[in-house]
Amino acid sequence: MSAKVHEVDQDIEQVFDYACAHGWSDGLPIIPPTEERVARMMAAVDLKPGDVIAHLPPRRGDVTVEKLAVNAVMAGCTPACFPVIIAGTEACDDPNLNIYSLNTTTNSVVPAFIINGPIRKELDVNCGWGCLGHGWRANATIGRAMSLIMLNVSGRIPEQVCKSTHKQPGAYSFCFGEWEERSPWEPLHVERGFKREDSAITVLGPAGTTNVIDHDSQTGEDILYTIASSMMCIGSNNFSPYYGEGEMGVVLCPPHAQLIGKEFPTKQKVKEFLLRETSKIPLSWLPERRRKALLQKSGGGQVQGEFARMAARADQFLIVVAGGLGGYHSVALPTFGTYAVTKLIRPTARVG
C-alpha cells in the first residue's frame, strides 16, 4: 500500500473517532479501510493501485486507484461497485462539469450521479420508489463514496475550502438509477452517445431537489406545463448569473413520463416545450435593482418584452425517468450553469 498506514485500535468507535479527528469522515461512521479491504476493492478492476484516474481540483493531486478504493471502503461500497466509482471520478474530472466550482462555490450545488445500463440490476441500484432517498445500499454507498472522494481527495473541506453557505443533504450522498424500462424514450446514456447494453454514469450539479406534484392534469402537455412553471425561479443560478449556461435536470416519475410520452414522441420535443414554457417569467417578479441589471446586460436575449427566460436553448434541459409508481410527483433539479457529463462504466473494470 503506498498510502500512509495508521495504526488504530480495532474498536469501531475508536476508528470512527480517529477518522473524525483527522477530517476523513463526512460525520457518519466509516468502515475501516484496512489493507485487506482496500486490496479487495481494487481487485474488482483491471487497474494498478498507482494508476492515475484524475486530478480533481481544488487540490489537484494525483487521484490514484488506491485513493479511490480507500474512500469506497470507508463509504461501505461492495467491490462490485468499484467500476462505478472509477467512472464517476472520470466524469467529475471532465472540465464541462466544472468540479472546482461545485466544490468551492457559496452555492449549495453538489455532484449528483445517475446510473444507466445493465449494471443497475447487477448492483441493485434503486430506480423506483424513493430512489433519491434512503434505504438502498448501492445508491447510498456509491453516492457516499463520491462524496468522501470530494472531501478527502478533491479537498472539499467545509468552511476552509468549500465556501458553500449551507450545502445540502445531497452532499452526503446523491445517486440513483434511471428506470429505463418505464421510460417512453431512449435512456439517458443512449441519448448521450452510448449503447443500450453499455453501463454508464452521468454526473450533474444540482442545487437541490424541487418536488413537483400534479395529480390533476390528464394530459402530458398540462403536466409539463406544471413542471415548466415550477422551474421558473428567479432565485436560481440558472436564471442569474449563469443564464444560458449549463443544464437543468428533470426527473419524471414513470406515470408522468407515460402520459407525456403519448404526446411527445421524443425527449427533444419535451425540451423544446420546457424551453418555451419557462420563458414566461414576468419582469414584475424581480425587485427593481435586479430588473434594471437584467435589462442592462440582456444582450443575450434573456428579456423579451415583459418576460424573462429561464433557459436559452432546449439542450439545457436534461430528462431522466425515475421514481415510484402510483404517485404523481416529478422532481426538478435546478443547477448552477455547469454541464452534465456521462462516462462509460468500463466492462474491463468490472468484477469478472
Binding site: 481544488p58 487540490r59 476552509q160
Partner: protein, 80 residues
C-alpha cells in the same frame, strides 16, 4: 501570468482567503502574494471601489514590486 514570468498579485475578498491559499498551494504557488479586500466585492458601488483602489494602491504596487516571478514545479500542466 505568473507561469509566464510576469509578477502578479491576486486580489481576494476576506471570505475567500483560505480557499485562495489552498488553491494557490495546489497549483504550486504556496507563497503567492494576496491583497485582501472586503466582502462582498461583486456588488460594491463604483465610487466605493475607487476609494478602495486608492486605499489598496500602495499595498498592491509594493507586492508586485516584491513578487519574484517563477515557474511552478510543473504539476498543473501535467495535471490536465
Amino acid at each position: 501570468m505568473q507561469k509566464r514570468g510576469v509578477p502578479t498579485v491576486t486580489l481576494v475578498t476576506e471570505q475567500f482567503v483560505s480557499l485562495a491559499k489552498a488553491a494557490a498551494k495546489s497549483l504550486g504557488y504556496p507563497d503567492i502574494p494576496l491583497v485582501v479586500v472586503p466582502h462582498p466585492f461583486e456588488t460594491m458601488p463604483r465610487d466605493q471601489v475607487r476609494k478602495l483602489a486608492e486605499q489598496k494602491y500602495d499595498e498592491i504596487v509594493g507586492k508586485v514590486v516584491k513578487a519574484t516571478p517563477r515557474r511552478a514545479p510543473g504539476k498543473p500542466e501535467a495535471a490536465r
